[in-house]
């Protein structure tokens, strides 16, 4: 018998894998039959509301929840803070109340006697000099600023002396909130000492323990369910203190409790993507190759300081021979950070590649030629894998350039139309891992030929059920309708959190293994039953078992050979550890965008946005493209409109509502074109996650297009009319 190996089928044989297939739960989602956490309303459910702090920096001096316990409808209260506790940002949670009706909960929240000692705050994350000046008056323990030791390579000073051009610039990108369609929230209900939780989470298997610990019971007594989720983007991995509070209030009240954030709380409280600012000096030689990079970074992750990890600077083009990168952290009285779709990368990409594009302008080079020349910097010299990645980028550049008509439409920065509306092109590059996460899933094969997948994974809106069903149906040669996928509960086999773009590789890899394992058992039964010389030539296709080209029996007949029990197999997936090549890591892409800028109003419109994206073996081209489209729209948002605005005097997140926290609508996004880069060499790499990477480069690409259109760099994202007009007033590039 030939050795049996886990592998994907030859590409040409696939019936489902790689095709454009609508989500199997699309109708449920579109019709509202799909139940999200915010829909859970079991009989007697109480509604909980939060009291959050309106001060950016304060100490609680009075807090009396007993005063509201007997208010109409109030059934439970919870204190997150006690007298003496410090508050370090507006929106930090103080207390919660659960009541029969939302108005009663609101009334009780307002009636809570609370007083603060208000302390001096600092919320201006961009103003490093101001923060330094303010620090001078603070005691050592209270100082906000920490400078990290710079990382260096080569000799920057020497390289600057030999350079053809030296560019100095300031760049930045604002803090944003996650803006999940479904806000953070939890529904808790106790049943005979067991806790039932519906939780809007990216981490069904991983949060039960946090609830259990929070309420002091064994994890086995906690059920966490999330059948559907309205977005997480990195902000929903934990039970969170408010989730645990929901469980505690439910216990206290003896009734189910639902705690969903309102929009203002959603914007302020669960965390944000940190801002990043940079002063940089870049040197390039006469050919346009970057020979030196010296950057100083600052920004904040809120009260704990931190900020964007400058280790990924310069982004993608990391291997600048002479480099110095230093970083200063500012502790701000602003909301803390949380992972936001490709943490660090969107900011690093925007800072790096806008500055690089300004070097191209200074050299008088076409940005295309400049970035192509510098692809040599994507990995250390002599590294074959690096050469491979540079080659993919070069290929992707060609495809994107053709689609956007770069050669015909590009003009030197600021040298386009004469009228007030100027058109320009820009590009950006991104990279990401996307390796499979560690998970286990069960596969049940029933006597009637139907299959069931049961796994403690989750669908965060991206099609987890669909890709699992495709994988199993493809392997067994049966219709997807014959596969039922059950996920979204910690009672199922443990699966990893949907973060880091790890889910699709994890679940498709493990279900390919589980399905192949089952199929081989069936093949052995078929060989025995039909007295074949070997099972090596058997295949499951089109609802039949084939021996070479000859039909042996139907799929149902083959499965019936297992007897009434059918069979059950388990698949595991996890990183590179499987080593069977079903999954791998490292994806990238090139984005090019065509914009128009109204130089009299500062308005920007996206005309066309092209993304050429590689991600190994594509399981479902429709959901893959959807993922990229969503990322481009999210990228347009943070490039053009979306930002947290802090008010220095009050220390408050002043635009925490959907009128002033501006998001693009369909009319603002232009024509989006997604091209999945998929030569056979990509298929051979196996499945790689795609969730995060395409959201990385829009900031750089759009900013570069605006600079190309106007001849002026708008240094800080988002590119609001104010920033555009202020920059236009400020002067020309190079």
């Amino acid at each position: 018998m030939a050795e049996r190996k886990f592998a994907w089928a030859p590409r040409a044989e696939n019936v489902l894998i790689g095709k454009e297939i609508a989500r199997i739960d699309a109708a449920e989602k579109a019709t509202g039959r799909a139940k999200y956490t915010s829909d859970i309303n079991t009989p007697g459910t109480l509604v909980a509301r939060l009291l959050t702090c309106k001060h950016a920096h304060a100490k609680v001096t009075k807090l009396d929840l007993d005063a509201v316990k007997n208010m109409p409808g109030v059934k439970a209260v919870h204190a997150f803070k006690k007298v003496g506790d410090p508050i370090r940002w507006e929106g930090d949670v103080i207390a919660a109340v659960a009541a029969e009706r939302v108005g009663q909960a609101d009334d009780a929240i307002k009636a809570i006697p609370i007083e603060y000692e208000v302390l001096a705050h600092w919320v201006d994350e961009d103003d490093l000099k101001g923060a330094e000046a303010a620090d001078a008056n603070l005691a050592a323990a209270d100082k906000r600023i920490t400078a990290a030791r710079p990382t260096t390579r080569g000799d920057v000073e020497a390289a600057l002396k030999t350079a053809k051009v030296v560019h100095k610039g300031h760049y930045g990108i604002a803090t944003i909130s996650h803006m999940c369609l479904e806000p953070h929230g939890t529904h808790c209900e106790w049943k005979e000492g067991n806790l039932d939780v519906h939780h809007s989470t990216q981490n069904v298997s991983g949060t039960a323990g946090q609830f259990a610990q929070g309420v002091g019971i064994e994890e086995a007594k906690v059920t966490v369910t999330a059948d559907f989720e309205g977005g997480g983007f990195g902000s929903k991995f934990a039970a969170d203190e408010w989730g645990v509070a929901c469980a505690k209030m439910s216990k206290e009240a003896g009734k189910p409790v639902r705690l969903m954030f309102d929009r203002a709380t959603e914007l302020k409280t669960p965390g944000t993507r940190p801002s990043a600012f940079m002063d940089v000096t870049i040197a390039a030689d006469a050919e346009g190759k970057i020979i030196a990079w010296d950057s100083h970074h600052w920004g904040t992750s809120g009260p704990q300081g931190g900020g964007v990890n400058a280790a990924v600077i310069p982004y993608v083009f990391t291997e600048v021979p002479n480099k110095k990168v230093s970083q200063t952290s500012i502790k701000c009285n602003t909301g803390p950070n949380r992972a936001w779709r490709a943490p660090n990368h969107p900011q690093a990409c925007a800072l790096t590649q806008t500055a690089m594009d300004d070097v191209a302008a200074k050299l008088g080079m076409d940005s295309y030629d400049f970035f192509l020349k510098n692809l040599a910097l994507v990995a250390p010299p002599g590294n074959a894998q690096a050469a491979y990645r540079a080659g993919i980028y070069a290929d992707e550049m060609k495809v994107a350039a053709k689609e956007i008509d770069w050669k015909a439409k590009w003009h030197p920065h600021g040298k386009g139309e004469k009228g007030p509306v100027k058109r320009g092109l820009g590009m950006g590059f991104h990279t990401w891992g996307g390796g499979a996460g560690a998970s286990t899933g069960t596969l049940k094969l029933n006597q009637d030929g139907s299959a069931e997948a049961i796994i403690g994974s989750q669908d965060i809106g991206t099609g987890t059920r669909t890709v699992i069903a495709q994988t199993i149906a493809e392997t067994f040669g049966i219709p997807m309708a014959s596969v039922k996928v059950t996920l979204g509960s910690n009672k199922y086999p443990k699966a990893n959190a949907s973060g880091g773009s790890t889910t699709v590789g994890s679940v498709t890899g493990l279900y390919r293994r589980a399905s192949q394992t089952a199929l081989w058992q069936i093949f052995d039964k078929v060989k025995e039953k039909y007295t074949l010389a070997t099972a090596d030539n058997l295949a499951a296709k089109g609802g039949n078992i084939l021996n070479g080209n000859d039909k042996v029996c139907t799929w149902q007949q083959a499965v019936a050979l297992l007897g009434p029990m059918g069979l059950s197999t388990t698949g595991t997936g996890g990183g590179m550890t499987n080593g069977d090549g079903l999954t791998s890591a490292q994806v990238g892409g090139v984005q090019m965008v065509d914009v128009s800028v109204d130089t009299e109003t500062g308005l920007i419109r996206i005309n066309k946005f092209v993304c050429v994206q590689d991600c190994g073996l594509i399981v479902n081209e429709l959901t893959a493209k959807s993922q990229v489209l969503g990322a481009l729209i999210m990228g347009i948002a943070f490039a053009l409109t979306e930002e947290r605005i802090m008010d220095n005097a009050t220390g408050r997140y002043i635009n925490a509502d959907l009128e002033n926290y501006k998001l693009p609508r369909i009319g603002d996004i232009g024509t989006l074109k997604v091209i999945m880069y998929q030569p056979d060499s990509e298929y051979a790499r196996g499945v790689i996650g795609l969730g995060e990477p395409p959201v990385i480069a829009p900031g750089a690409a759009i900013s570069n297009a605006v600079a190309n259109a106007t001849g002026v760099r708008v240094p800080v994202l988002p590119l609001t009319p104010k920033r555009v007009l202020d920059a236009l007033k400020g002067g020309q590039l190079s």
């Binding site: 009228g419 109204d598 109003t601 500062g602 605005i645 009050t650 509502d657 009128e659 002033n660 009319p721």
Partner: protein
Amino acid sequence: MINFEYASPHSEAEAVELLNSHGGNTAVLAGGTDLYNLLKADVIAPQRVVDIKNVSSMRGTTDVADGLLVGSLTTLDELLANPQLRAYRSLVQVAEAVHSIQVQAMGTLGGDLCHLPNCWYYRNGYGLLGQQNGRSLVVDGQNQFHAILGNRGPAMFVSASRFAPALIAWGAKARIVGPAPDQVALVPLEYFFVSPKNDHQGVTVLQPGQLLTHIWLPHAEETLSASYEVLQLEGLDWPLASAAVCVESSAGIVRDARVVLGHVAPTPWVAADAGESLVGYEITEASAQAAGDAAVARATPLSENGYKVQIARTAVKRALLRAVGQLEGGL
């Protein structure tokens, strides 16, 4: 939200009577697109909310001897569908630019004129003047959307009304009933708006117990009109600045032009200089640009909103060019 009484009158007289109680701490509910937000955020706390949607006399349009009476309860959808209003191009353009279908369906003309400021200091509980401990938060704060004209008094928010600039350019008047049910006044809309000196003064001349029932418009006749709003987003968004114009001309030469800016001052801003600069000239790119310059010549931008001067200038230029069918380009 604080609990309140709810009243649902069927006549203007009944409405005025219901409004004229609780020391005037009452609120009018029309489409609710502004009031509900204010109530939910506890920015206002009326003791009684008077829902006027059943006051049928305040709906639709009525021909009167010297013009047209438009009921305050006319929704944006109704405005767009009403053939009698089609000649008032600038009004139609504003209604079309309110891209939210929900607001078009529910929002009313009177509600727009009485819309309270969108200033984020006001909406976050710092009063109409945006003050904390007696100091303006606006002056050194996040004032990028605040006033560039008429901002030397304590009020620095911008008037939120989308329709007021166009209506004022048309010479519209506000029909106000109350406080006594038989008291009726017709006030030029230009004088309907006030820049408050304190947090309690409000943004219009309406006193407790008064109701804006109708807008009077002159016959449209040969007047050319247009509005131009600079909106960052295609969806629901507020203009960064806007301009509305009405132009009377003979053989292309301007006899009279009225230019009114929106979202640049605590009230709609009549740019008399801009209008006068056009008299005796054709409207061309150059004369429209000069009118734009004149409109903002006396602007006093705050620390963060100098860019709005350029936007207001452009809005005036483009509104004029649009009125004479010469607008090209622009996003």
